[in-house]
């Protein structure tokens, strides 16, 4: 890790609040992600994890608080501006461009790194052409990186589930992000595939020099790869620290298991 960088956190959330009517989806959330870390956000269903991600990627405008990316405020910017700054994400339910091939999907991901204009494309200016070729090569190499080069010309809808997940990550990587947000990357995977995905996430951090923030339900994954874990419940941060610290926090255990016996039933009914 570079020392001069660690002075500035990649992402800093200051008292971030997002309400939907009376419901506080995310409340007063303080969170700091340092460079080259793998940070996890966990919590029971409905804890506000995905809402937090949507605030970061610009789908939601936070009601209060600040979001700083390398010290630059990003709350209130449009998703495309945020993506252009270097924050990429994947989705809990895969969202690929169904009618486009795998290679094209990755090419769309490179969009914000290209400068070609429609006029340049129509006249096929030398610069546009050069850029297009570079983008093509880059997209293909990314597909190779995620082991999908064989499927480059397959339509995204026709890919197998695991391949779709990997393609989504390749697409997110295409914009050369600093920060990668992964929303349940191992959802729907068997233990073997989950293991492979964990290896892959570590490889991403180490080889591509990335900072990763992930939402995960699989505790084994979270505890084994995270440098830092934040636990949310009902939109509020209830615990933070290394995996070991979090694991032993009574508040976390309560949030997940609903410890007091008399509240167990109501927690069950209301929780899910």
């Amino acid at each position: 890790m570079n020392d001069h960088k660690s002075a500035v956190p990649v992402l800093e959330s200051r008292r971030l609040t997002k309400r939907f009517g009376g419901l506080i989806a995310v409340g007063d959330l303080d969170l700091v992600v340092w460079p080259n870390q793998i940070a996890s956000v966990i919590g029971p269903n409905g804890a506000g994890k995905t809402t937090f991600f949507n605030c970061i990627s610009g789908f939601y405008t936070p009601d209060e608080g600040e979001l700083l990316f390398y010290g630059v405020p990003i709350h209130g910017l449009r998703p495309d501006q945020i993506s252009a700054m270097g924050i990429a994400r994947t989705y809990q339910n895969i969202h690929l461009f169904a009618g486009m091939t795998a290679l094209e999907n990755v090419l769309v991901g490179i969009h914000s790194n290209l400068r070609a204009t429609p006029v340049g494309a129509m006249l096929r200016m030398p610069l546009t052409q050069e850029e297009e070729e570079a983008a093509l090569v880059k997209a293909y190499e990314l597909l190779e990186f995620v082991d999908l080069a064989q499927e480059a010309d397959t339509l995204a809808t026709n890919l197998a589930y695991g391949n779709q997940r990997r393609l989504e990550i390749a697409r997110a990587l295409a914009s050369d992000p600093y920060l990668l947000l992964l929303d349940e990357p191992t959802a729907g995977m068997n233990p073997h595939e989950t293991e492979a995905m964990m290896q892959f996430i570590r490889r991403l951090r180490d080889e591509r020099d990335l900072t990763i923030l992930l939402i995960e339900h699989d505790m084994k994954v979270v505890m084994s790869i995270s440098d830092q874990v934040t636990v949310l419940d009902y939109g509020r941060k209830i615990s933070e620290g290394t995996p070991e610290q979090v694991q032993n926090d009574p508040l976390v255990i309560e949030a997940y298991l609903g410890a007091p016996a008399d509240e167990l039933v109501s927690g069950f009914l209301g929780g899910e």
């Binding site: 960088k5 990627s57 610009g58 789908f59 390398y70 630059v72 910017l77 449009r78 998703p79 495309d80 501006q81 945020i82 993506s83 252009a84 700054m85 270097g86 994400r89 989705y91 969202h95 461009f97 169904a98 009618g99 486009m100 091939t101 290679l103 094209e104 090419l107 769309v108 991901g109 969009h111 914000s112 290209l114 070609a116 204009t117 429609p118 494309a121 129509m122 096929r124 546009t128 297009e132 070729e133 983008a135 093509l136 090569v137 997209a139 293909y140 190499e141 080069a149 480059a152 010309d153 339509l155 697409r171 914009s175 050369d176 600093y178």
Partner: protein
């Protein structure tokens, strides 16, 4: 017992009964909408065709059953259909006999249909029996036919099988069997024949032989060359139907020659598309010289044929002021230049291996399309021009709907704006007062001041936008440089891509200043006069039309940015109507419902001969080719991918860094500009335009042709324009049912080929990507081998 038997029968004949019922309904429908009247040549043919199609269905469904089952089912189907027609005829006759005004109810059923189908000679048939106006009773002594159940054997009421486009028929056979019994027998025979042949075909597995044959075809060089040469071969067919100077045509088309020729011309265009699509990466083992030689020779030969036509028939398409009958030299020169350009382009592209087939197909197809118009007469040229204008509109809408997925139902507005802009800048229509005295020019088309103003505006717009674009670019470079200096890895863009107010004002001032300066210089140096007083109003109109439509596209785009799907469709539909109503009601400005008259052609006024109509067709062809070319390039670009992603999922596209505002406005603007070009050419073709020319129907028609051809597919749009605009124009008789046919085709397309007639192929970029990647990093190739 009897019930069981009946059950047994109806089970065994279920196929036949259902097929017969549907056939009967369709036949009744055809008779009631009057197809036999207006299409008398095709009438019986189409009735029998319907039966045959259902016969084929029976044969297919029962192909595992025995011959007896098939035959009985088919006969029952024919019988049932016949009985249904018979019931209609009986009804018609009964009502007639009772003195009911049958004509009112069966307006489209002609006397001839009744004669042929009922066997009663026309002379004896009274559409309405004579009634004494005083008593209200039938006049005695005049026969009233009530008996439609006849079987006749004579010429007059015999069923005639005629086949031909219009007028004379190519094929005419009088079966000499008439009357309803005769018709029923004919229906039964047709359906039985179709069913048995289909059954035998399937039972004998003829498809196996066909598969073997096609298997042999795929590897066959002759077959491949035949496919590549299809446009040329069909051009040859066309050529044979045309007299060459004093020599008569080799191939005489008897009936509907002009229409048949047009159909061949459409086929040439279609085969050109097919040839280009089916080209493979195959060089036939030829060296570079041989490859370029073959392409150059075929292009050269076709250009020579074209020059022969120009000199032999005076089919010119360029007419300078000095030569009102068209200049053969200039026309020939234009062909030669175009041919040379094609050859040079091929020479460059053929250097890469694997390009021969596609390049050959493209070069020969384009050459054929280049010389084809020289063989068309005025009517055919007119139809082709219309098809070409619709191709432009279709390609423009294809960008908005097909690429960007924005359903635009008011597309006709941009078409109208293009047409009216040109009309406004060029027409010199006089206005008359109530005493029919001219009170002045309504449109200052040839008025120096208007043309000057248009020229001024055009130049100012160009200069100002160039200055602003350059300034913004420079500013961004500076900003990016600063950002780069500040950060280690990559510039943090996206935070503030907009210049501050100060910079913006500075830019605007700079732009206005520069354009004023340029305009002053032009004015002072008399360069301006030389530029614009000599320029044809058409060119100015074209540029102005494109700019106006483009701006209108952006203006429509801004308010609908947040809308999607059906909401967008409704708002755009309203926009289209607003523009039309504006043209209709701003009388003093647009001429109102009387329209704009006397719009000049893009030619000197005194031109006559083929040049007067061919010039416009060449302009339209050039325009469509250019638009198709630009569309293809846009699709394979950053912008095209952004549209495609936006069409697929707007939100996700935005989170991939795509600026939705920019992407949508670009799509609207480019689509509108293409429509504007179409509009200008439309005004030049019609010469008189009215607000009624720009109804909602046009938008729907263009949308239909895009959907039927294949959304997002350029060849698809071209095919859609031919199928929906060209062919109805040829089959004039069917034109009444155009909307019906549109509807039927749309429904059929959605069910049978939901992606269109010629859908856009999935782009296969991986081969090129691999090639490029290896070229950049040669070490990789070995790695892959080791794996």
């Amino acid at each position: 017992m009897l019930q069981n038997r009946l059950h047994g029968w109806s089970d065994a004949l279920r196929e036949g009964l259902s097929a017969g019922f549907i056939t009967g309904l369709i036949l009744l429908f055809l008779i009631l909408i009057g197809v036999p009247v207006r299409l008398e040549n095709l009438a019986l043919f189409s009735l029998l065709l319907t039966t045959a199609i259902f016969g084929i269905r029976i044969g297919r469904r029962l192909w595992r059953a025995g011959l007896g089952d098939v035959l009985s089912n088919a006969l029952v189907a024919g019988l049932l259909a016949g009985v249904m027609v018979l019931l209609l005829m009986a009804l018609v006759n009964r009502w007639q006999a009772r003195g009911i005004d049958v004509k009112r109810y069966f307006d489209s059923v002609s006397t001839q249909t009744v004669t042929v189908l009922s066997g009663v000679p026309a002379a004896e048939l009274h559409p309405n029996p004579p009634i004494d106006p005083l008593t209200g009773r039938y006049v005695e002594g005049r026969p009233v036919r009530t008996d439609p159940f006849r079987l006749t054997f004579n010429e007059e009421t015999g069923l005639r099988l005629k086949f031909g486009m219009t007028g004379d028929s190519v094929f005419d056979l009088n079966l000499r069997i008439g009357g309803l019994y005769g018709f029923v027998v004919l229906l039964m025979l047709t359906s039985a024949l179709a069913a048995v042949v289909t059954w035998a075909w399937l039972a004998a597995d003829v498809g196996r032989y066909r598969r073997q044959f096609s298997g042999r075809l795929t590897g066959n060089p002759v077959a491949r060359w035949a496919i590549l040469l299809l446009p040329v071969l069909f051009f040859g067919l066309f050529w044979l139907t045309e007299g060459q100077g004093v020599v008569d045509p080799v191939l005489r088309l008897r009936a509907g020659e002009r229409e048949a020729q047009l159909l061949i011309a459409f086929l040439i265009i279609l085969w050109a598309l097919v040839a280009m699509r089916s080209a493979e990466a195959n060089d036939w083992g030829l060296g570079y010289t041989a490859r370029i030689g073959i392409v150059a020779a075929s292009v050269g030969a076709l250009v020579l044929i074209g020059i022969g036509r120009i000199t032999g028939n005076n089919s010119t398409f360029i007419a300078p002021v000095s030569e009102p009958r068209g200049s053969q030299t200039l026309s020939a020169l234009a062909l030669v230049i175009a041919g040379a350009a094609l050859i040079i382009q091929s020479a460059v592209l053929l250097r890469r291996p694997g390009r021969f087939e596609s390049q050959f197909a493209i070069a020969t197809s384009l050459s054929v399309l280049m010389i084809l118009p020289l063989y068309l007469d005025q009517y055919q040229t007119d139809v082709m021009t219309l098809v070409g204008i619709n191709i432009m509109l279709g390609l423009g809408l294809n960008i908005v709907v097909g690429y960007a997925g924005l359903l635009d139902l008011g597309y006709v507005a941009f078409f109208a704006l293009g047409a009216y802009t040109y009309a406004f800048l060029s027409s010199n229509q006089m206005v008359f007062d109530s005493n029919n005295q001219p009170i002045g020019l309504k449109f200052a088309g040839n008025d120096e001041a208007v043309v000057r103003a248009a020229g001024w505006l055009t130049i100012t717009l160009f200069v100002a936008s160039a200055v602003i674009a350059a300034g913004l670019w420079r500013w961004r470079r500076v900003q990016a440089g600063r950002a780069k200096a500040a950060l280690v890895r990559r510039p943090l863009i996206g935070v503030a891509p907009r210049p501050s107010t100060g910079v913006s004002v500075l830019l605007v001032v700079l732009a206005v200043g520069t354009s004023a300066l340029v305009a002053m210089l032009l004015d002072g140096s008399s360069l301006y006069d030389r530029l614009f007083s000599g320029a044809s109003p058409f060119l100015i109109g074209l540029v102005a039309g494109v700019i106006v439509s483009g701006i209108a596209g952006i203006m429509l785009g801004i308010p609908v940015l947040r809308l999607r799907g059906d909401y967008l469709a409704i708002v755009t539909l309203g926009f289209g109507e607003i523009i039309r109503l504006l043209f209709n009601n701003l009388r003093s400005f647009t001429g109102g419902p009387q329209g704009v008259l006397q719009i000049p052609r893009p030619l000197p006024e005194n031109v006559s001969g083929p040049a007067s109509y061919l010039a416009l067709l060449y302009l339209v062809l050039l325009g469509s080719a250019l638009i198709a070319f630009l569309s293809a390039r846009l699709k394979q670009s950053r912008t095209g991918r952004a549209w495609s992603a936006m069409k697929s999922d707007e939100k996700i596209a935005q989170s991939m860094g795509i600026n939705l505002v920019q992407a949508k406005l670009t799509a609207f603007a480019i689509g509108a500009m293409f429509a504007g070009i179409g509009g200008v050419l439309f005004a030049a073709r019609q010469r008189n335009i009215f607000p009624g020319d720009f109804r909602l129907d046009v938008s729907i028609e263009v949308l239909s042709l895009v959907i039927i051809g294949g959304m997002g597919s350029i060849p698809g749009v071209i095919m859609g324009a031919i199928v929906l605009i060209g062919i109805p124009e040829v089959l004039r008789e069917l034109a009444t049912y155009r909307i019906l046919v549109f509807g039927a085709l749309l429904v059929a397309m959605v069910i049978i080929r939901p992606r269109g007639l010629l859908p856009a192929p999935t782009p296969e970029l991986s081969a090129r990507a691999r090639q490029l990647a290896q070229a950049r990093n040669p070490g990789r190739a070995q790695e892959e081998v080791q794996e």
